[in-house]
């Protein structure tokens, strides 16, 4: 089954780390991405822009109301996510433990349905 790791944290935390700590965190991310892709169990992975770029769309009186800012007015925002094929929740937890802990909180949720996406090469976010 496909599982997701949703990464929640403060937009500012990463920027507050020293260069060495940032590097250490990035090494964990790229390391895990390599493990997942080498094993061909890596689904879509994303890092989101700062939550100040967000707009929120909800219905008001039957029309779409667009407001500025993220949906949840909390310090901890959705920063990004992984998806990967795992045999069990236990396996997903073990994978999540390889990510930098302490600078963000990881929520693991099984994916009920997903589509791998159809993108032109130009849309590749890297």
């Amino acid at each position: 089954m496909l599982y997701s790791i949703l990464i929640f944290g403060d937009d500012e935390t990463f920027g507050q780390l020293s260069a060495a700590e940032q590097d250490a965190a990035m090494v964990k991310h790229t390391g895990l991405q390599k493990i997942l892709s080498d094993a061909s169990i890596m689904g879509p992975v994303a890092k989101l822009h700062n939550s100040s770029t967000a707009v929120t769309v909800r219905a008001q009186d039957g029309v779409a109301l667009v407001t500025d800012g993220p949906f949840a007015e909390t310090k901890e925002q959705l920063l990004g996510f992984y998806t990967m094929e795992c045999a069990s929740m236990e396996e997903a937890i073990e994978i999540a433990k390889q990510l930098p802990l302490g600078i963000a909180t990881l929520e693991i949720r099984p994916v009920e349905w997903f589509h791998g996406g159809v993108l032109s090469p130009a849309a590749n976010g890297e």
Binding site: L17, S52, G102
Partner: protein, 421 residues
């Protein structure tokens, strides 16, 4: 207490310092509301930082470092005031509250609307109209950002002693803003935001325009300006000019490393290696401009950011959408008429309708911009494109007589050499 603390595994002293400086604007705003005086608040925050550095390594960084610092700072400030007052009269105040649940309550308070006015007030204090631009920046850097007097003095090439006196005087002048704690009316809030945004852009430009890398501190002005603008946008998420300013700063900052060559001279936009541009900052800036302009209340920062976004969107200099840039400069002229903006529009006109057309427009500006270096170098470039070598040479020489920086001198000489060929 245990519930709201957790040990983060990657902590280092450097990281603690970053937590402290990240918390500073919010904490200073809250402490200044409480004590209604900047000096006491600065000392109180300083004391809170000292205690944080003692306690965090063993007890862990609190879940909300800012709330912790505000509470500890408040208690420290009250203690200091008590000591000061002891000889005169004993303060009848409840004992300082213990940390713990209070910290969580405080963390919530930090997100309230009162609090955002506190942050705005603290920044607004620094742009008091009686202060010179440089004093405004010095005050903001000292109080809000937390730079030392020595650092600020070095950045502005002033003796520390003189800077100390200027900051003290500036603080005294601006004190009335802090003393009046009323909640601003929407109109007053808008006025304050505008003044603060202008100051933050000035801070950004102080860092951005100092080429040559001689002053490392100035480079950090850009980062601090971006950080404070981000904070304002978190507090005022629907303010389009805050989005515009953040976008503008990010779109300029994205090109920072391409703006200087190995020798430290300025590289003009059309000559920059675009692979050095920071794509992530550009994307964020572009999204913010678009988000702001959706509101249909275009302001000067949004339009300037939109212009920067058009430049950033071009894969190469010749692919720049000059027609869009010309339209945007027209919009900017309508919002904030100024001969310098007209000059910039004419640069776009030279690309869309040719240098002859642009030169015609330039003639009307000669009277007001005769002392402006960029006016003459722009005229020179137009003449050059038209093959009018003598006029081009004259205009470059006029530009050289107006005190250009070293980078500009070498750029102009390069152009003059080309004319000789």
């Amino acid at each position: 207490m245990a519930a709201c603390c957790r040990l983060r595994p990657m902590e280092s002293e450097q990281t603690f310092a970053r937590y402290l400086s990240a918390a500073r604007p919010r904490a200073m705003a809250a402490l200044t509301r409480y004590f209604r005086a900047v000096d006491i608040s600065e000392d109180a925050f300083q004391e809170a930082c000292v205690r944080a550095i003692k306690s965090w390594p063993s007890k862990g960084v609190p879940r909300d470092p800012t709330a912790w610092l505000i509470l500890v700072g408040r208690n420290a400030g009250v203690d200091a005031l008590r000591r000061r007052e002891r000889d005169r009269t004993l303060l009848e105040e409840p004992a300082p509250a213990p940390l713990g649940d209070l910290e969580a309550a405080y963390a919530e308070e930090i997100d309230t609307s009162d609090f955002r006015d506190d942050v705005l007030r603290l920044l607004f204090m620094c742009c008091h109209p009686e202060l010179s631009e440089q004093d405004q920046l010095a005050l903001a850097l000292k109080i809000v950002v937390g730079f030392s007097v020595a650092e600020i003095a070095r950045a502005f090439l002033v003796k520390p002693k003189a800077m100390e006196q200027r900051i003290t005087r500036a603080k005294r002048k601006a004190a009335s803003v802090i003393a009046a704690l009323e909640t601003p009316s929407p109109a007053e809030r808008a006025t304050r935001l505008n003044a603060v945004l202008t100051m933050l852009y000035l801070l950004f430009n102080q860092g951005y325009s100092s080429a040559g890398g001689a002053l490392h501190i100035r480079a950090s002005f850009c980062d601090e300006a971006i950080r404070l603008t981000r904070l304002l946008l978190t507090l005022f998420p629907g303010q389009t000019e805050v989005m515009g300013l953040l976008a503008l700063c990010l779109l300029h900052n994205a090109r920072r490393s391409a703006r200087q060559d190995a020798a430290g001279s300025l590289v003009p936009l059309d000559m920059q290696d675009r692979t050095l541009w920071d794509r992530s900052q550009i994307a964020e800036g572009q999204v913010l401009v678009e988000k702001a302009l959706r509101h249909g209340r275009a302001g000067a920062f949004q339009v300037q950011a939109a212009i920067a976004a058009v430049h950033c969107a071009a894969a190469s200099a010749p692919q720049t959408d000059w027609e869009e840039i010309e339209r945007l400069y027209e919009a900017l002229e309508a919002l904030t008429p100024s001969p310098v903006i007209t000059l910039n529009r004419l640069v776009a006109v030279s690309k869309t309708r040719g240098p002859a057309q642009a030169l015609k427009g330039l003639q009307a500006l000669g009277a007001v911009l005769d002392d402006y270096l960029y006016f003459h170098s722009t005229a020179a470039a137009f003449h050059g494109e038209l093959g009018q070598w003598a006029e081009a040479r004259d205009a470059y020489n006029k530009a050289l007589s107006l005190g250009p920086s070293d980078a500009e001198i070498s750029y102009i000489h390069l152009r003059l050499d080309e004319l000789e060929k």
